[in-house]
Symmetry: C2
Subunit: 356 residues, 2 copies
């Protein structure tokens, strides 16, 4: 290690470093948990018992009541629509058109969405709206698919559609019960998420457990139909990675390159993964909330868990250690895991042994 590499933050063993030239410019601390469906934490760093806000990383879980209630069946939800219910999408036409048609089919329109509008995160789509002189609508909100799912569930339950984001609405009650059951955590009163729905804090250990159960619900799945609902959500995400995020987005790129690996980002530096082949779940949080560090940390963990084959690793190299370029296109630095990340014990790295 060169002199310029020494840095006081390297006392934190698990961090993501932003280098300019050889020197560390910024440091992101990371906590993570890898768990199995029984709730055992196999690997961890940092405090994985302290509740953190999972934000959008729990969308695949929030979509489960839509399926297990029978609402998806009754309203003829397509696999694409279910993928969008799990999505933080980029507001591309492929996303907004499906959500708009879905709402129309259930007799609603975009005014029923209570998520608020924001410009598409997909740059070309944002630019196109400006060129067309159209303001962004709630359909462009990255959460519009999740909200369409919540509205569908409200109709199925015979509950009012207005106010479906309130913590005491039957839709949110179903979802909070599911989050508690899947994570094994006791929920405390929620804050409010970016799209208006309740934001429950969960320990990383519980969030990883929930993702392991999504991967492999097994006999502990709990509610009737949960195992089948988990399978449908997994299939929808795996078959439509572009609908879960969008063109060029990390979630979509990773799921396309590593079939069977399900990943989902959340705001403020959260990432989760469900690894059905390894019967594991993982959850991580960058302490400062930086998304640029969360994806690098996720890639480091997927590699340590053996979840990426050679071709996936090659295809995803720029997510694992992104090169930084300046405005003139010159390479000026790199984002990468700190040297202190532990290797995983290969005896446990592959997850619980397959049951006979």
């Amino acid at each position: 290690m060169r002199a310029a590499d020494r840095h006081p933050d390297e006392a934190d063993p698990v961090a993501v470093l932003v280098r300019r030239g050889d020197r560390i410019e910024s440091t992101h601390r990371v906590a993570y948990a890898v768990a199995d469906a029984g709730g055992a934490v196999l690997h961890h760093a940092g405090d994985v018992r302290r509740p953190v806000f999972p934000r959008s990383s729990v969308k695949p879980l929030q979509a489960l009541p839509l399926v297990e209630s029978g609402a998806a069946e009754r309203f003829g939800l397509s696999e694409q629509e279910l993928a969008l219910a799990c999505a933080s999408h980029g507001g591309e036409p492929m996303h907004t058109e499906i959500v708009a048609a879905w709402l129309a089919r259930i007799g609603l329109d975009p005014s029923a969405l209570e998520c608020g509008p924001h410009a598409p995160s997909h740059e070309a789509s944002a630019r196109q709206l400006i060129e067309q002189g159209r303001p962004p609508s709630p359909l462009h909100n990255n959460c519009s698919g999740k909200h369409a799912g919540m509205l569908t569930l409200a109709l199925h339950l015979g509950a009012p559609t207005a106010g479906y984001v309130a913590p005491d609405h039957p839709v949110q009650q179903r979802i909070s019960a599911l989050l508690a059951a899947m994570s094994g955590a006791s929920l405390t009163p929620p804050a409010v998420d970016g799209c208006g729905v309740p934001a429950y804090a969960l320990p990383l250990a519980g969030l990883a457990t929930a993702m392991a159960r999504l991967a492999e619900p097994g006999p502990s799945a709990g509610a009737p139909g949960r195992a089948e609902a988990c399978a449908r959500v997994r299939a929808a995400m795996a078959r439509h990675p572009l609908l879960v995020a969008g063109s060029g987005r990390a979630c979509s790129v990773i799921m396309a390159a590593a079939p069977g690996v399900l990943v989902k980002t959340g705001a403020e530096g959260v990432y989760v993964a469900a690894l059905p082949e390894r019967r594991l779940g993982l959850a991580l949080k960058v302490a400062d909330g930086a998304g640029r560090a969360a994806v690098v940390a996720l890639m480091a963990l997927l590699a340590r868990l053996g979840a990426l084959d050679r071709s996936a690793s090659a295809a995803l190299g720029d997510l694992a250690a992104p090169l930084l370029r300046n405005h003139a296109g010159r390479a000026v630095g790199r984002i990468e895991p700190s040297p202190g990340w532990p290797a995983f014990d290969p005896r446990v790295a592959q997850g619980p042994r397959q049951q006979a």
Copy 2:
């Protein structure tokens, strides 16, 4: 403190917290130094001897050779142009038009700028470019004023204008010598900044010292004409705060509300201030590079230094502890200093005693 407020990162006494509801969602650690022109560090947190990249925070220093060389005089630089040489501007027409006219007056055009293009950070200006079907030009680069200043200095020195960003170009040699003299630091080989110029790392203690010397060059100013150059740079920034950043931007808003206080942001969580009335300089770095935390940390330090009167404090309240709203407009959280920030000893908080 409520139970939800307890957080392991509060072991770091100096941080900026992002709260969702009552709960800490993300944590930004901060290091800072407050120094006088003699290089004495009066207040500090974290390691202020480790070099960090000051990024654009040193633009007011990078502009000094332009003045003290006589280039500004010879090419008839206006105070507005000098303010833009110190700027990370938003690419608004008020910025790009002045830089374009400046380049034309010295016989150059925007193709001489080696900073590369990027879309204006000022949203309405970025939108206008799209509506007009025009791509961003190097004039819109937030550094275009600094680069126009460097080109002006190159012409004055009889040096080639092409390649003025190279570390061994006479323009950059003048600037690196000035940075070393003002900060008292030994420079190590530079990395490359976002706009292509050399990025020298400086300890926060040295960066704060340099800002104290900008505030009050005194007899230790060093080079001939430096005290006058510092005075001209201070006046340009103070009289044209909107040119140093832009509409609604923190640097501009703070300097407009607190006359005499000079502040400058830098990428990756850096902020500096020069306080001529208190004969002090300050420099801070958010470890993870988050700008949202840097401005909150700056406000906390300015308040502790007594640099904000009652009306400035009132006008700047939303920068000191910004309310976070979701896409539906609902208040969901707040960014604020952690409870652990120390109070400053009032005997030293006001800076060195006025010399008789």
